[in-house]
């Protein structure tokens, strides 16, 4: 894959990291604005922000960002200062690392690791550490309860997440995300290769499992025990203000963007458009196609978030261990058997 202009290896890496660093807050804002503000509002028969920025309040989240930046960054007196300061950074770093692997075009990916999927899931579980640090350091009982719940929940839902992805890897035969995208583009469903073979058909159970597990990873309703407004007010984020709270906000929606990106790549064929193979076009259309698929998956996730009540702590664990994991294992079994048979 020879890019048109031959520039130094270092500068390419620098450009890519800058682009990724820019995408994440932008992605968080796009996702946050369209779903959290506008879609949720219309689902609740109201309009959402209309005034900021004139047309339909597009400036709302940018304004929030600026507002948070100039707010005073308060540290509770009895808090563990260093850990309190570092915690949000840990959460956001785990999101940045996931983006390194998601491809937006034939060569629009920071580093095309062969073990891409494995790396992405491993890195996404870093957030647990950040959450526990935040909860413990802010010396507040509500934060402590929220953090303990978050720890238990994130660990419990790593497993179903992995099992869901294993099915895809089995079908694609490779763990590198570019490989998975190609497998879906060139694959065919029982001979007919009109739209390639997006794994959502073969792996419908895997897709559902991934969505449910991603919902839990993002601590969104019906799994938002750690940040339960009516009980723990704001869970582990309760003592954070100003710029650090902005980090948490970007972390939350950045991870949502990352997981939606992963789901789109693994199950909906990523940036690939069937039968469009020449790299020039793909590089241009790739990101747009990926964005639409991401918005589609994100719509599903947020739609569930605004409709369902919240599960209780023990029910949440029961759903993970007794319900999701057996289904994940069964899914792998069936995929393996079918793979061997055909």
């Amino acid at each position: 894959m020879q890019s048109a202009v031959d520039i130094g290896w270092g500068t390419i890496l620098a450009i890519k990291t800058v682009v990724v660093l820019a995408i994440i807050p932008l992605g968080a804002i796009i996702l946050g604005y369209t779903f959290l503000l506008k879609m949720m509002a219309h689902m609740q028969s109201r309009l959402g922000p209309m005034d900021p920025g004139g047309f339909h309040g597009w400036f709302q989240l940018f304004g929030d960002g600026i507002k948070f930046m100039q707010k005073e960054d308060v540290m509770p007196a009895q808090s563990d200062r260093r850990i309190f300061a570092v915690a949000p950074a840990v959460v956001v770093i785990s999101t940045f690392l996931v983006f390194l692997v998601i491809p937006a075009g034939p060569d629009l990916v920071v580093s095309n690791l062969d073990v891409g999927v494995f790396y992405a899931l491993a890195v996404s579980s870093l957030a647990v550490v950040g959450v526990l640090m935040a909860g413990w350091a802010s010396a507040n009982k509500f934060a402590l309860l929220g953090a303990l719940r978050a720890g238990a929940q994130l660990i419990a839902y790593e497993l179903p997440l992995l099992l869901a992805v294993v099915g895809v890897v089995v079908m694609a035969g490779t763990m590198s995300l570019q490989g998975i995208v190609e497998a879906q583009q060139n694959g065919s469903i029982f001979g007919w290769d009109g739209i390639g073979n997006p794994f959502i058909f073969g792996q419908i159970i895997g897709f559902m499992l991934f969505l449910v597990a991603a919902q839990a990873e993002l601590t969104q309703t019906p799994f938002d025990m750690p940040v339960a407004e009516s009980e723990l007010v704001a869970g582990y984020m309760v003592e954070y203000t100003g710029f650090r709270f902005l980090f948490f906000f970007i972390g939350e929606f950045g991870t949502a963007f990352a997981f939606a990106g992963l789901a789109a790549t693994l199950f909906l064929g990523g940036w690939a458009i069937p039968h469009v193979t020449d790299p020039g076009w793909s590089n241009v259309l790739g990101p747009i196609v990926l964005l639409t698929k991401v918005m589609l998956v994100a719509f599903l996730m947020f739609w569930v978030r605004f409709t369902y009540p919240r599960l209780r702590e023990d029910q949440l664990q029961a759903v993970a261990w007794k319900f999701l994991i057996p289904i994940g294992l069964a899914n792998i079994l069936i995929t393996g058997a079918l793979k061997v048979a055909f």
Partner: protein, 163 residues
């Protein structure tokens, strides 16, 4: 009676259907500063004072549960109506303040006033930055008089005996 049991999708899917349908239906928000929803004619927004009717009988100040009406009046001599009759003494208002910071809009003063000097007006946009400005004096209460609507016609079957 409770609706016919139409084929029941499991509750989880039914819930999603409800939110999706509402998303497509229009929103009900009234964007306040640009659009306004006008309150019904009987809404109790602010109390208006018709100064000519007031005879400083202090009934409203006495009956107000919140003690938020402050009245000062004086008496004057007036030429008799018919010549040769006795000189009339008339009470005039010097000060008639209603403190809307204390008022709870119960309407006892409007009702107890024997000379119909106080009226309700559905006006509601008189909030102030400084709470002291909520003490409306005689002129301000007079201004509200224009916003007092005509009493509505009553429902069918109502005996319109009372005022």
């Amino acid at each position: 009676m409770p609706k016919l049991p139409k084929p029941k999708a499991p509750g989880l899917i039914g819930g999603l259907g409800v939110t999706f349908k509402t998303m497509l239906k229009g929103a009900v928000t009234v964007q306040y500063p640009h659009e306004r929803e006008d309150p019904p004619t009987r809404a109790r927004g602010v109390i208006a004072l018709k100064e000519e009717n007031c005879t400083v009988c202090m009934l409203c100040a006495r009956q107000c549960p919140d003690w938020c009406i402050y009245i000062e009046g004086h008496k004057e001599k007036r030429p008799p109506r018919r010549e040769g009759g006795r000189e009339r003494t008339v009470s005039l208002l010097d000060r008639f303040d209603i403190d809307y910071a204390l008022c709870m809009y119960c309407g006892i003063c409007v009702e107890v006033c024997p000379f119909d000097a106080l009226f309700w007006s559905p006006e509601y946009e008189y909030s102030e930055a400084n709470i002291a400005d909520l003490l409306h004096d005689k002129e301000k209460l007079g201004e509200w008089m224009e916003t007092v609507p005509e009493p509505e016609p009553l429902e069918v079957g109502a005996e319109s005996g009372k005022k």
